[in-house]
Structure formats: C-alpha cells, structure tokens
Symmetry: C2
Subunit: 367 residues, 2 copies
C-alpha cells in the first residue's frame, strides 16, 4: 500500500509538471488563486512573479491599476465592487500584457490576450447557467468553395432540438467583431445561456444561432497572398455558410425565418450581407456599429414590408456612437422602420454591452 501511495503521489506530482512552460506563475509555496470574487463583489487579482519590477491589472470595470507585491512574491490588488457581469482583464507585467496564468477562462481573440472574471452576484443573470433546459453548442467545420479551404462555425441548437426531429427552426446568424473569432459570441457573449434563459422564460422563440468567423483570411496560413480574391467574407457567408446550415440543420430555409446580426465589425457585416440579400434575410440586428448608406435596399418602395425587424443598439459612451447615431438618423430620414436601443453606462464598446443587446433584441426575432 505504501508503495502504491508513493507511486500515485509521484504521478500526481509528476503530472503537474507536464509541459513546464509558464511554470513561473504556478504556486510553488503558498496556494494562490486568481481571480477571487469576494462576497461584496470586489475582485482580488493575484499574480505570482517575484522578479517583475512593475505589475498592473487592466480590468474593464475599473481601468488600469498598479498591483502591490507581498512577501511571497505575489502581486495583488482588490478592485470594485462591480455590478455582477463578466469582465475581460489582463495583467501588464513590466509593460507586457499577459493573461492571468491561474485562470483558464480566456477571451478568444486574434490578437489581444485577456482573461475573464465572472462576478456571479446573488441572483441569476441572463447569461448565467441556470436550471432550465439547455441547448447545445456545436463546433463544426465546413468546406467553403468561395474560400477554397475549410471554415469553422459555432452553432447553437435550442433545447430539445435532438428530440424534436419533426420540428424545423428559424436561424439567427450572429457575427462577432474585429479580432474576435467564431468562439467569441460563445465564450464571452454566452449566447447559449442567454438563448436558453430567454427561451425558458417564454421571451424568445426556439431558434438556431450560427456564429461564423468574421475574418476568414485567418483560415489560411500566415503570409498567404490573398490579393485579388474579391470579397471573400461576403461570398463565404452567402454562398457557403447559409447553404451549409440549411443542408445540415433542420432550418426553415426562407427569408422570413432568417435573421442576421453582429457586434462592431460584425454589425457592419450583418447589415451589409443582409441588406444586399433581402431575398435571404428579413431580420437585422446591429450592435455597436453601422454600415454603408449607399445600398439599393434603402430606396426600395417596399422596404418596410421586406424588413420584419431592424434593431440597432449602441452605448452613448461607445467610440462608434457618433457613426451609429448618424446611421440611425439616416434610416429615419428614409422612413425605414427601426428600433433603437441605447445603453448609458461607461461600458461603451464592450462585451458587457454586447450581451445586453442580445438580451434585448433576441426576444423580438421571428415574431
């Protein structure tokens, strides 16, 4: 028995040494956790690095703050309290932005590396995992003829999708922003939980949500020369993604049952793709963004009968607010019916607001 215990202890110890890259941040003495959400909704951030000269934390509820090194070589700070929500943050270690090494929850993104802190609060939020029926999130690969390579989609199917084999569903195409990936609306936007909760409350109709990657150039190896390839993003979306979804999921494959929306660049793409293809889409959601004022759709005499929902949300503190507001005014000047929604918080162009916009607009889809 002693021998076994020794072996298992060795294994557990040894297994902890798998791939020792990054080991400078692992607790070698005192147990350190980070982030720690305290009962008063403040957050304690801890970062073990005895050699760093200067460590800051940047968190989206509080901005950038210096951390203090304690006697164990752990840099620490407590910030907040903050309203319950999910906030991106990173450490700035001697000027270098790094994720929290102790936190596996990260922000899928092409460039910046942020971790996520989830302040759960005392009552469930619209993005919280709750005791309601859950849909599924599928990670799928599709071959795009437009791109000439494989693409990726994250697809939410609503609760009981597998059981209700005779039921077909409307589809909401939802595109994230610049430098985001196809995972961002899942991992940061918590689209699946927001849909689960809205459906459980009877506020939203069961629907499929398709989350594409807004920057398909990244499917190619770095350095690939893509000049002269035309508008790959649009062609991929219209000619490959939508047909793939209709062929592989139980969709209602008509314009009345297709919506397209997005955040930031994804909002621009959603409107640009959708308003050029009114034969395919009838519901439009634009979050923290706007698009061209030179599309033929705006001058169609039947435009208001073609569009079932035109929903625009932006924060008054968003750095794109001015453009978004001008676009809203333009739609009004064209007498194109639309719904405007403004947040007045300090969170401007962030995923805290992106989640809020989803919560506000999804109940209006397909009704």
């Amino acid at each position: 028995m002693t021998n076994t215990v020794k072996r298992l202890a060795a294994l557990l110890l040894a297994a902890g040494m798998v791939l020792p890259l990054g080991a400078q941040n692992r607790g070698m003495g005192v147990q350190v956790n980070s982030p720690v959400v305290n009962p008063d909704n403040t957050v304690t951030f801890n970062y073990r690095n005895a050699n760093a000269k200067d460590v800051k934390v940047n968190v989206q509820f509080a901005g950038t703050h210096d951390m203090t090194k304690n006697e164990n070589g752990v840099w620490t700070i407590t910030l907040g309290p903050a309203a319950p929500d999910i906030y991106p943050y990173c450490f700035i270690v001697d000027g270098i932005n790094v994720m929290d090494p102790l936190n596996p929850d990260w922000f899928p993104n092409e460039t910046f590396k942020n971790s996520l802190v989830d302040i759960r609060g005392n009552k469930p939020l619209v993005h919280s995992v709750q005791s309601v029926p859950h849909g599924s999130v599928d990670y799928v690969n599709y071959y795009s003829k437009s791109l000439g390579t494989w693409g990726r989609l994250v697809i939410y199917t609503p609760p009981f999708y597998d059981q209700n084999q005779s039921q077909r569903y409307p589809v909401f195409y939802l595109i994230s922003g610049t430098t985001d990936t196809e995972e961002t609306y899942h991992k940061v936007g918590r689209t699946n939980f927001i849909l689960d909760n809205l459906i459980a409350e009877g506020k939203a109709v069961p629907m499929i949500v398709v989350m594409p990657y807004g920057n398909p150039s990244k499917y190619f190896p770095a350095g690939t020369d893509l000049r002269g390839r035309g508008d790959m993003t649009s062609e991929d979306f219209i000619n490959d993604i939508v047909p793939y979804v209709d062929a592989n999921y139980r969709t209602i494959a008509d314009r009345e049952h297709r919506a397209v929306g997005g955040f930031s660049r994804g909002g621009n793409q959603a409107l640009s793709h959708g308003l050029r293809h009114l034969d395919m889409f009838s519901h439009f959601c634009c979050y923290s963004s706007y698009t061209s004022m030179d599309l033929p759709a705006y001058d169609r005499p039947d435009i208001n009968s073609q569009i079932k929902l035109f929903w625009l949300g932006v924060g008054t503190d968003d750095f794109l607010y001015e453009g978004a507001k001008q676009y809203m005014d333009f739609l009004d000047s064209k007498k194109i019916k639309n719904i405007k929604f403004f947040t007045n918080d300090k969170f401007g162009h962030t995923w805290m607001n992106a989640k809020c916009f989803l919560d506000q607009s999804v109940p209006l889809l397909f009704k």
Copy 2:
C-alpha cells in the same frame, strides 16, 4: 459616396481598436505574421516588442532559443525544419511566458499559456481536416449532483449522427491531463479529426467520444473550500457524467460498449474509474500514465473475460516512462492481457504523442 467610404474606413479603423489591451503587439507599421510555416517546414516566429530586452521562444520541436530584434522592433527566429505536426510554443519575454499575440490558436489549460503552430506538410495527417464526412463537437453543460454545481463536457458525435436517428453508438470517455481542460483533447488533441479520418478509412467504428474535465474543483469560484467533499472527480464521472450521456445521446448503454481512456493524470483517472467499475466499462486506454496496483479487479479470476481491450502507450523518453513500464510489468505478472505501444521519439510526455496514441488505439475499440 466619399462620405460613405470615409465612414466605412473610420469604422474599419475604429473596429480594430476595440479593447486596446495588448495593443503593444499589434502591427502598427510593417505587417508582421506569426507563426509563419515555411515551405521547407521550418517555422519563423515573430514578436513585436521594441522595448523588451530579451525575447526567447520555447517550441516543443526545438526547445528554447534566443530571438533577434530587427530594425522594426520585431523579434524573430526561424527554427526547424520539423516533422509535420501541431506543436505548442510560447515566447519568453524578459522572463515572462506569453502566448503569441498574433496567433489565435491556443492550448486550453488552467495554468500555462501556449500557442499552437500547425506544420501541415504536403500530405494529410491523421489529425488534419480532410474531405471526409465530419462529425460534430458539442459543448454541453450538465448539472452534477455529486458536485452540486454545473459541469462541462465536450462531446464528439460521429458523421451522420443526426441523420441516423435509429442508430445507437458506443461511447469512449476520454480524459485529458493535469492542468488541461475539457477542451484540450478537442483543440490540441484534434480528437474530432482523428475520429473522422479513422472512421472514413474504415479503421474505427463510429462512436461517441465524451471529453470531461479532469479537475472539477475548477468549476467552483477560486478560493471555495472543498475540504471533506470526498472523491468528487470519481463520483461526478460515475454518477453524473455517464448517466447524463446515456440520457442525452443515442448510446449503447452497456459495459461492452463503453471505453474509458486518458492522457497523463487522465490515464490514471480512466483506469481508476474504470477498473473499479467493470460493470460499466470493458475497454481501457492509458496514455503516458498508470494507476494503482492495489485494485480488486486485478485478482478477479474472470478479469481477462471482463476486459475487451487494455491498451497502454508511453514514450520511452517520457518522464513517467519508468512508472508506466512498471505498471505494464505488473499487469503481465498478473497475466492480465494488454497491448503495449511505445514511441521512441524525443516528444515524451506531449500532445504530439497523445495524438499518436489515439490514432493507434481507437481502431481497436469496440471490435
């Protein structure tokens, strides 16, 4: 038109400034890509940071090397050539390990932060996305009574799972290693593509693969006191995960059609869970690991009729090789039939070998 072009340009520019954390690494002048896989299977790593004093790269095909700063403030190095495969790497910037800011492909892990470089080579590998029917990868949440909280699973369903509603499938439970998450066998192990390819070649039977999280303590907020909670991992696996899968997927819910396997700590867990529950499992795969030699199963007179497959793989260069080999010898001394597989490369305890073990053992399951 000019106004529109200006607006769109402003939007595109502005959208690139969303969440400017990490911006020190974004190309502000010369376009920089990283990693760049060259035609000769060497890899060029680039890291923009004009202020860093010392930048290294650590990559699993070559070890740690100093990078050189060029006139644009970009640190660069070309390493290899390396055999086509997927290799974890990170930059070490003034002693701090960081992911490659220009690379969205990362290694899901609790602690270390690595990026992944995919050297595709000239012919498809077993983990390559190929023009074959693809299964789906579902990210699901289940409520664990054993844990008293929500857990996560990544579940592969084979090609045509949705179409073949009358078909039921065997299930392979596959657990990743210490500090890995439930995503690691998907994102790093490429389990879905390996299964797709083996099934397409007729080498493996269509099966469901369930990838749990080997460390459910991480479901709780950091700092939660879990003392006295017993063997939560085992209870969650046996009493919650397996019943959840049987209730929600079209499984063949008997011991003959359940396999359990894992890498490193996951291999230990797989054998420990499985050999204590021969009423539930009949196939066992242990990758780069071993488990206790004090289980009642070893002394069952009918043990060889109970175990349909006992597959053990380890690299001779693995730091757990000695323990794994002793465990193999122990099984032989007990006359317990098993299949041993050794890799002789320098990749020891890595995911290059973990993929290889999957490729070798999955074809033997459920036959």
